[in-house]
């Protein structure tokens, strides 16, 4: 009988050591502990980085950054605004196919390909049976160009253009009714980015505004 007791004792001791060993190895440097350790390390590094950035951020460093931009925002903006306005006023009032064709290369040169292509597409004339081209726009009545702030860490600047325009007279001849003509007022909206370093302008988004009868 006592031999059985001894066996039971040995089995118990053996089982306990298996459980304890299992617990030891699962708690020792387990996945969770490893993640926390890694987290501690990165957090420590982040703190050091933020401290260094704080130390380095001084009035002198900000002024130096401004200087290094070598961009006179004022003259850049004036130049770009005038280019955009002149070209849009001119294109929106184009009356002949020749003038429309002639403008294309100038638009691309002044406003960059993506913006120029969109403008050219928007004002693309329909040629009626009479052979007279019918353009989308008759005239731009107001062009506004608006600018984002200049980010000192980035050379891209957002630019927004809104155009108020009128359409040519559209005849609304109905059967049996007397023909009348109407013009519409509308708005175009362009979102662009301007790279102040290489002076390139790129179209990001075009939106058509609400058209109204006059």
């Amino acid at each position: 009988m006592s031999e059985n007791k001894g066996l039971a004792f040995a089995v118990a001791g053996f089982s306990l050591v298996i459980i304890a060993g299992f617990l030891f190895f699962t708690t020792n440097n387990n996945a969770k502990a490893k993640t926390v350790k890694l987290d501690v390390k990165t957090t420590q590094r982040d703190i050091d980085r933020v401290h260094n950035n704080t130390k380095a951020y001084t009035v002198e460093s900000v002024l130096a950054k401004m200087k290094s931009k070598q961009t006179n925002v004022n003259s850049e903006i004036n130049e770009l605004t005038s280019k955009i306005k002149t070209n849009i006023y001119e294109l929106y009032s184009v009356k002949t196919q020749v003038a429309y064709d002639d403008m294309q290369s100038k638009l691309k040169k002044d406003l960059g390909t993506t913006f120029a292509d969109k403008l050219i597409e928007l004002d693309k004339p329909n040629v009626s049976q009479s052979g007279i081209p019918q353009f989308t726009y008759a005239k731009a009545s107001n062009v506004q160009v608006a600018y984002d702030k200049l980010d000192l860490d980035d050379d891209e600047m957002n630019v927004y253009v809104t155009v108020d325009y009128t359409t040519p007279e559209i005849s609304t001849a109905g059967s049996g009714k007397e023909a009348t003509t109407i013009t519409n007022n509308g708005q175009d909206f362009f979102a662009l980015t301007f790279n102040t370093k290489n002076k390139s302008l790129n179209l990001v988004e075009y939106k058509e505004g609400v058209k109204r009868n006059v």
């Binding site: 006592s2 926390v36 951020y57 401004m66």
Partner: protein, 213 residues
């Protein structure tokens, strides 16, 4: 050794090893807990360091822009002027549109102009401008705020500098709001406004809707 002796020896070794492992487990758990506590403290330190950085940036920027605006270097001066104006119009646009696009009934809708006027955000002539602050009634005299139950909450306003005309600045403002109706419908909308800001009186003198998309 008798079989019994072997069993007892094995059993005893097991117990001793169990005790040792047990101590090990205790140490592991303690070490892990300590790591967690340390990690938590570090996260707090990081948050502190970040807010310290933010504060320094705004302090330094204020000083740097003040210096830059008087700089003899045209580049530096132009950037400071542009970004300074940008901050001004964004600040006023935020104040204006936060109130302009927040109402929950006819009463709060009609109170917007007086509120903005008393806060010094707009001129009295703008407060009386019927295009900017309508009566909340349609052409038949019907109170559409009440009828439709339309409410509005302000989401964001971003202003962009359009024209600097010396004493006034024109800006284009992108405004996002959420409107909800009695019917349960609701939706977000984006509007573009042109605002005119008077540098001297520090008020908005004109507001015009340019585009709703």
């Amino acid at each position: 050794m008798s079989k019994k002796g072997v069993y007892y020896t094995l059993g005893s070794i097991g117990i001793v090893a169990t005790l040792m492992f047990g101590f090990g487990v205790f140490q592991n758990v303690q070490a892990n807990n300590k790591l967690q506590v340390q990690n938590k403290a570090l996260k707090k330190d990081l948050a502190n360091a970040k807010s310290e950085y933010k504060k320094k940036v705004s302090d330094v920027d204020a000083k740097a822009y003040q210096e830059a605006i008087n700089s003899k270097d045209e580049t530096v001066k132009s950037i400071a002027t542009h970004n300074g104006d940008y901050a001004i119009v964004n600040n006023i646009a935020d104040k204006f549109f936060k109130t302009y696009f927040s109402w929950k009934d006819t009463k709060t809708y009609l109170a917007r102009s007086t509120e903005l006027l008393s806060e010094g955000v707009i001129t009295s002539s703008l407060a009386n401008d019927k295009n900017t602050f309508d009566s909340g009634k349609d052409s038949t005299g019907n109170d559409y705020i009440k009828t439709t139950g339309i409410k509005s909450s302000f989401d964001s306003a971003d202003a962009y500098l359009a024209e600097d005309m010396g004493s006034t600045i024109n800006a284009l403002v992108k405004v996002v709001n959420t409107a909800s109706y009695k019917s349960g419908n609701s939706g977000e909308a984006t509007h573009y406004y042109q605002i005119t800001y008077d540098r001297n009186s520090k008020e908005i003198t004109a507001v015009k809707l340019v585009l709703t998309v």
